[in-house]
């Protein structure tokens, strides 16, 4: 009992620090990557001076994130005269919390057996082992969709309760866009569920540690390359980032549904957006990129296609899996930022046309073909 509690607390602490870390680092990565992509240097003037010396630590502009956070905390918390003050105050949290909750079902490592990491731990933990996942639920992917659907409510609340026409328009756009793309997102994942025969995310990752055709790692992106593309596009649309950032198109709607928000309330919206980049990265990694495993790797070690196997000690496996997961998530995040700084924004009618007349039929077709193939192979 105590052991379960300790493990849960450690996992939750790890998950929250990873998400917050990604949220903070991604603001920096976004600035710097955008700068390097366009032959610029990027933000690099914020510094920390070591007291009593003239040594100024710049560290490639890493402290700009701290400066931003400080600015948002110290700014005036503007309160509009709105009729629904409670909804106005609660909306940023309704956007922010589900984004954090989604991570609960995402496995960020294989199983961990504390007693095999370090002998004395056996006194507390026995020889039990835990999957490295906050909530090892069978319903995995369904929970993800249930929680990520909640952020729509937050956006709608924010737009509705700000009593501002721009906010309302932004919220309407956010609502219709997110509902449309949620459908595509679900349909693309259905194909994967057919292939793996489960909705449990950890079981999905285990399925991906084998090989297909003898040499390719059995990743989701190999089975469903089409669905992977659609999933990424729909997920970016779900996150309301360029090229799908119509709800907050600044040239038309000032800042969309969070026009009336200032200081840290606005910061929460921004932070939720950046954490959602990491969440999309984690989901994409888990569903399509083999999760926390390196190619040909499982909890026992490596099993290369030639038949050679390399056994690994438990500690090395755990560390490799944690690091691999973070690295894969970071690469996917970086790719999303590349997309964000490359593509121009859609027109609003194009966004919905793209969802309903292009991606939705394609996702359906992908699902039908997958079902036929699975049926053919199964029969």
């Amino acid at each position: 009992m105590i052991a379960d509690l300790v493990i849960a607390v450690v996992f939750i602490g790890y998950a929250i620090s990873v998400l917050m870390g990604f949220g903070t680092i991604l603001t920096w990565v976004e600035r710097k990557q955008a700068a390097v992509m366009s032959d610029r240097i990027g933000a690099n003037r914020a510094y920390i001076r070591i007291p009593f010396t003239q040594v100024k630590l710049v560290w490639w502009g890493l402290f700009h994130g701290m400066a931003d956070g400080l600015k948002m905390l110290l700014k005036e918390d503007f309160k509009p005269r709105t009729y629904d003050w409670y909804a106005y105050a609660v909306a940023p949290w309704v956007v922010f919390t589900p984004v954090l909750l989604v991570f609960a079902v995402i496995p960020f490592g294989g199983t961990i057996t504390p007693a095999r990491l370090w002998e004395p731990l056996a006194a507390v933990f026995g020889d039990k082992s835990w999957p490295m996942q906050i909530a090892p639920l069978d319903a995995g992917i369904l929970i993800v969709f249930a929680f990520s659907g909640l952020t729509i409510i937050g956006a709608m609340l924010a737009g509705w309760s700000s009593s501002n026409k721009f906010s309302l328009l932004g919220a309407l756009r956010a609502g219709s866009q997110m509902i449309s793309y949620e459908l595509v997102l679900g349909l693309t994942v259905l194909g994967l569920i057919l292939v793996y025969g489960t909705v449990d995310l950890d079981a999905m990752v285990r399925h991906q540690s084998g090989t297909v055709l003898g040499f390719l790692p059995a990743w989701g992106i190999v089975y469903q390359p089409f669905a992977a593309t659609l999933f990424l596009a729909a997920a970016i649309a779900e996150n309301k980032r360029i090229p799908f950032d119509l709800p907050e198109a600044e040239s038309e709607l000032i800042a969309g549904y969070f026009t009336e928000y200032s200081a840290m309330k606005m910061g929460l919206f921004m932070f939720a957006e950046f954490i959602e980049i990491a969440i999309i990265g984690a989901l994409f990694t888990t569903l399509f990129l083999g999760g926390y495993n390196l190619p040909f790797m499982s909890d026992a070690g490596f099993a290369f296609p030639g038949g050679a196997t390399v056994a690994m000690p438990h500690g090395a496996v755990v560390v490799t899996q944690l690091a691999t997961f973070l690295l894969k998530v970071f690469v996917v995040c970086s790719f999303q930022i590349l997309i964000r700084w490359t593509l121009p924004r859609f027109r609003y009618d194009q966004v919905l046309t793209f969802a309903w007349k292009f991606m939705f039929p394609l996702a359906l077709a992908n699902l039908v073909v997958t079902a036929l193939v699975v049926w053919w192979v199964g029969a």
Binding site: A35, V36, D39, I41
Partner: protein, 192 residues
């Protein structure tokens, strides 16, 4: 009043999208390859210790084509004995379109050639438009403009007033038209 449906004007050079462009995905991939390529190329430059950007680190670095005739901060020149060359004639203050120069004249009976001198000479840089008319108006070549831009961001407007001593002490390195008599002992205004 006829209500015909709006017909968009067709231009003679309107770009036509072929099937390849309409498919959207290939063109997106091409764009991503371009930007990703630029990113990797610049990143490789940074990694190997070269500069992977076109940006100039402005105050620390200046571009080679930085205009030598740029009108930057004002400099009060001095006579060989170190006293300001200004005779407090108020010509610059009169011509100044922004009315930012304030001069208070003093009287020095010991110097028969230039009995008038400025006790106060102040420029309000929060309003200065850097037009250079004061330089042209000066009969004594007492005020000049160096090409450096004054490094004067300040939290309140009162610290953006510069007085006589600051204007005399700026000692611009770039102005070689007239040698300044006392060589500066310690270079001032250097950035750490």
């Amino acid at each position: 009043m006829s209500r015909r449906p709006h017909v968009r004007k067709r231009y003679w050079n309107e770009p036509e999208m072929g099937l390849w462009e309409k498919a959207y995905l290939p063109e997106i991939l091409r764009g991503l390859f371009i930007t990703g390529g630029v990113f990797l190329r610049n990143m490789a430059k940074w990694m190997t210790g070269r500069k992977g950007a076109l940006t100039t680190y402005y105050p620390e670095e200046t571009r080679p084509d930085y205009a030598p005739a740029n009108r930057g901060k004002h400099v009060l020149t001095r006579r060989p004995d170190g006293s300001p060359q200004c005779i407090a004639c108020n010509m610059c203050a009169t011509v100044c379109p922004a009315k930012v120069i304030e001069i208070e004249a003093g009287f020095d009976p010991a110097d028969a050639a230039h009995p008038k001198f400025p006790v106060r000479f102040e420029i309000d840089y929060s309003r200065c438009v850097f037009c250079g008319l004061c330089v042209e108006a000066c009969p004594e070549d007492a005020i000049r403009m160096a090409k450096e831009v004054p490094d004067l961001p300040a939290a309140d407007r009162w610290t953006m007033w510069l007085g006589r001593e600051e204007l005399l002490a700026w000692q611009p390195q770039s102005d070689v038209a007239k040698p300044y008599p006392p060589a500066p002992k310690a270079p001032q205004g250097d950035r750490p």
